[in-house]
Symmetry: D2
Subunit: 378 residues, 4 copies
């Protein structure tokens, strides 16, 4: 694994926990974690339960005792590591967004395919039991023809103008702001649940243009200095979308949505029913079915913790809820189980990363051009 | 009508509005309103749309141009007026609680029955569309055998110790406090929805024992003086109950439930489903059905404003909600429509008032005796 | 009053109820209601409590015993009646949308202004206590600089393809569909709460293009025949918006949002706090304040039924909720009270109607042109 | 550790995860897990990450390489193991309820105290961030004098009469049913949050008296045979309570509350504010403060995932919620950290177990005697 901060912790925890709750065909060996700062990575290796560590990812990707390379560094570092790992014949697992640009993402996909290795991207929210239930209902036609898809990813951690200029606020490291970080999830969930995008038009704004340069950074938090630097990514991006299946979409991501902490929501309205989800209450799915008798139609709140709900039976009894980290466990379980000779792919791969990037760039181009953009034109 | 304060207004409004939204066999004539203070009652008559007024209820009940006498005075005045009106051959409609004591309530019922007049009591909450839906589901067996009935009526208007000693806080006018005022509604709804009580045990407390004597009173509010008097009713009463059908009940009424404004709630758990209601969101009913497929079981929130919901079709389009006052309109509509020679009784009558009083007194006796009391022993 | 269907009923009820709950400087006389079908209008006059009726609006607007003309006919009939009434020196009160086109709306405003009469438009939702509270908080700066405005108006009454081709689905009567009917409210609330629009871009769709021609129509419902006609208005319109104050907006109206009955919602995120409102729970306002101590920050649900909430003190005790119809009462109360020589305008007028129309047309032009449109360019 | 089923898994997971998210003074060594079935316990040891296993708890408690014995067997086995472990000088950590009877619980406390060992009981729900916040607010006086405490623990896993006769339904193994299993948590939380009980009166029922005898059992689930046996514990127990501080309590536990999966809720109403909690949404706490300005008073929903919330900072960013299992991690972290020479006790101990048992038995005696029982009389 390359990277040992917020995502490094979430992924490490998943590798460690899977075997306790899921039956694996062969056990996971957490061989090595990699980071440039030896002291930091050594401590992370111990704390997270890795057998060893490396300080140079080039050494890591060449190790013979490793089958899978997990990359969760800042986004700008993804490409080189992934391509090297794929060339070394390793399966690769990359955090989203896949790359800073669509061109890079395509190069990564091409590299993984030509190397013949498995490739996966960490669109973790697909793997919540409530989202799995949404997927089942749509695939079975229970929601009918989809008319509307509404999505938000709303947070508020940037409202304070004194919040420092972390790497996520700088284009060279992060590629974009709320758009790449948050809309990436919304776009992937939309594609996963209802299908591909046709065209988009968007708007974007940076509300606070200068922020104090951090003295040091740990994950999302940083201690600020008195020196200010430019915020070079968006604080919010919203867009209209039309899907290939005729559905109309509305998307909005923001780090200035006061009061929302992690509001990754979607609402789907179809000819037979409707679905609503909110990550802040991730165990629940709201479902409305027109097949219910008229006087009893209403949104029902399903607590997706029964053994009939995917993955839920591996955890606790009904009503004993799971948390944020569990989606990583489920996704990585699917990935690791697939890594047998005959393993079926049950995880999102780089082509999903490319298609997500394509939508995100179409939105950015629509903003630059003040025009609707056909997603397939990119 | 006798009484022209809070309830006088609510009832007057109902008489005035019914004809606009409901088809009546013959129109309602609002003949006269009665109160001791001539200036006050005259103004009320004008404002509320009554054709005239009286200052002596004895004169009112003798008038030949009146068919129905509506009594919504403080509770201690109910009995004499109702009995006189019944003797004068008038249909009678009384606010709850029917009387200060069970003995008085029985006397009133006996008087109305021996006079052969129609008698009704204002258990208005039965007549909300959402409550009607609950009733339908239970009667149809959709909830199955009832295991649990939970009810609260929670308000918080007495938390401030400076709130004055209004008539509702004095035993001689009000009979009791939270118990008679609030539990009366809970007990009636429980009887209406799932049937009669078997036995009860309760507890009661007055948290603030002395309050400033009001200089003047208007409805629930009053201007307080510096002189203090004793609060002679309960601030809260809660009780356990066992029903004749085997259900277990838990009831709680309070005027000290900080944050609740009008929390008349019930929850019913049965072998086939469950129901939850909260008067603060009176257009909604939460329904859970075990017949739903397992992965989709959840409480659904029905917004009872469709034309399939009783009374809702007389109002506005779906989702255009109604308010507190509408239950009075529905109940009085049922009462007035029934006042034809062949009219079926579709409203709660004094026997419901008596049975409610019986449960309330059983609870009070259980507190006095520190023991369970069989309701039928009273 | 001209018109006696859904809105005619809502307005009539307001005129009738105001005096019972609000102190008026002089009482309201409900002189005459007008409609082309004599039988229908006569019955409406009786049921709604009007002193008389007319079958020709030209006669109505000339009557000397009338000060105010209320127009709630289908939208295409607004203009002629309003202009004639204004010329006759009557105050005019018009349902929204003011007119079928911006040009017509401007002509109506100009006519009313040159006639020197009072003119008002029925943007009723401004007058809910919860919305008034939102307005106060924003005006006092408690929400701070506004970053985001999100609004929806979601209904689902057109999902069934067998629903007939009512007048609201035909461009010549309604002007537009979900856009003019629903977004009109959203646009007005946005302007009322945070100010004017700068530019917009939208998308629109008609999901069901042909519907059965109705045999007869009553309000929103109609009995369908076997003959089909074209739906000539939109089923849904959504748009992005940028406000003059720098806020970013997202709007969506639909009559295909399965499960929503009357989802007129807004969410406002500012530098100091946030506000959320949903018409399906119209007594409530959700408020988040960053000034709260950090560990206690959260959306609080205010039940706007206390006497400190505007208009609420005129109704019932705390927690005794009001319904849809009450907003009309409050708005018409403000209008009628203002109709004294020295009455201050406390209601929305035709200039608000024009500005709303301007935004709606800018959205339609953005759809026709596939481009962002400056609102002030129209 | 003795026991390797549902609770064994939850505890094992905690021991394994703590070090990754919390700083420990010295690392945890998971030495051995114990169970009678060698195959089962061996598999559990491997899966849960224990270094070894034992099949006889007597051998386990004598091992010199073990400092802490964790007991999560069925309740009837607690006493002997705990007393032996304490005598062997081990710190002891026991699942709730501490014992089948108050007498046994007292003997266990006495044994642990006379052995001078640390003793802890697994009242895990105290250790949720939201519950910690409730505790802080009450201790600081922000809620004021407590008037009301309402608690439920509602589940529905026994509604189906075909559910088999698991050990939790047999008095000899479980001691009691919903009462000991669920009310135990409610009683402990009440004591933790507002203080000790004065007197109680309760009611209890077993709705389904005979159930199929299970062929085999795994945790809560079991395969049923055709032979039926008696259910010897309660399906539901509710009780009224009066606290030493004058608060009035209402408690209800049920395994027949259709639709509730894990409804461990409490509501606390005090002179200055109110608090509400529901385990099905365990990241949230609803708080109402009378100190808020009147027009803005309402229950606010705090998502207790900020770094200002206890334990939350050790996990993920704001809004990234935790689940059921995390409370175990927090409690065991506190216990393990305290196991230094100078460690302050920051966990519930056997005296809490005894006091909880005392209340539970007082309720059972009140049912047997049909009378109020002073808790201190036992």
């Amino acid at each position: 694994m390359v990277g040992y901060k917020f995502m490094g912790k979430a992924h490490s925890h998943a590798y460690k926990d899977i075997g306790m709750f899921f039956d694996l065909d062969r056990p996971i060996q957490m061989q090595a974690i990699c980071g440039r700062d030896e002291q930091g990575v050594k401590e992370a290796a111990e704390r997270f339960g890795w057998n060893g560590y490396e300080t140079d990812w080039r050494a890591l990707v060449e190790r013979e005792d490793i089958d899978l390379i997990d990359v969760n560094t800042p986004s700008n570092a993804h490409k080189d590591i992934i391509i090297a790992a794929a060339r070394a014949g390793k399966a690769v697992f990359c955090e989203k967004p896949l790359a800073l640009t669509l061109a890079d993402a395509r190069e990564m996909l091409q590299s993984a395919e030509s190397s013949g290795v498995r490739h996966a991207i960490c669109f973790n929210y697909r793997y919540l039991p409530a989202v799995q239930l949404a997927k089942q209902l749509i695939d079975e036609g229970r929601i009918g023809q989809i008319h509307h898809y509404r999505a938000t990813y709303l947070q508020d951690w940037l409202i304070d103008p004194a919040f420092p200029l972390a790497w996520r606020l700088q284009k060279e490291y992060a590629g974009s702001g709320a758009h790449g970080d948050l809309n990436a999830h919304c776009v992937d969930l939309a594609r996963y649940l209802i299908g591909d995008f046709d065209k988009v038009v968007g708007q974007q704004r940076t509300f606070v243009g200068k922020r104090p340069i951090p003295l040091s950074t740990t994950g999302l938090t940083a201690v600020a200095s008195e020196t200010y630097g430019d915020v070079t990514v968006d604080d919010t991006t919203s867009f209209l979308a039309q899907f290939k299946n005729g559905a109309m979409g509305v998307f909005e991501a923001s780090r200035f949505a006061t009061g929302w902490k992690n509001g990754n929501t979607f609402e789907i309205y179809g000819s037979e029913g409707a679905i609503r989800f909110n990550l802040e209450r991730l165990n629940e799915l709201e479902v409305y079915l027109r097949e219910d008798e008229p006087r009893l139609q209403g949104f029902r709140t399903v607590i997706a913790t029964e053994s009939v709900h995917k993955y839920a039976g591996n955890w606790w009894p009904p009503g004993h809820t799971i948390g944020y980290e569990h989606a990583f466990i489920h996704l990585i379980y699917e990935l690791v189980q697939s890594m047998r000779e005959d393993g079926t792919k049950t995880y999102p791969d780089f082509s999903d990363g490319v298609k997500c990037q394509q939508v995100l760039e179409a939105v950015e181009k629509s903003i630059a051009d003040s025009a609707w953009i056909d997603v397939d034109s990119l």
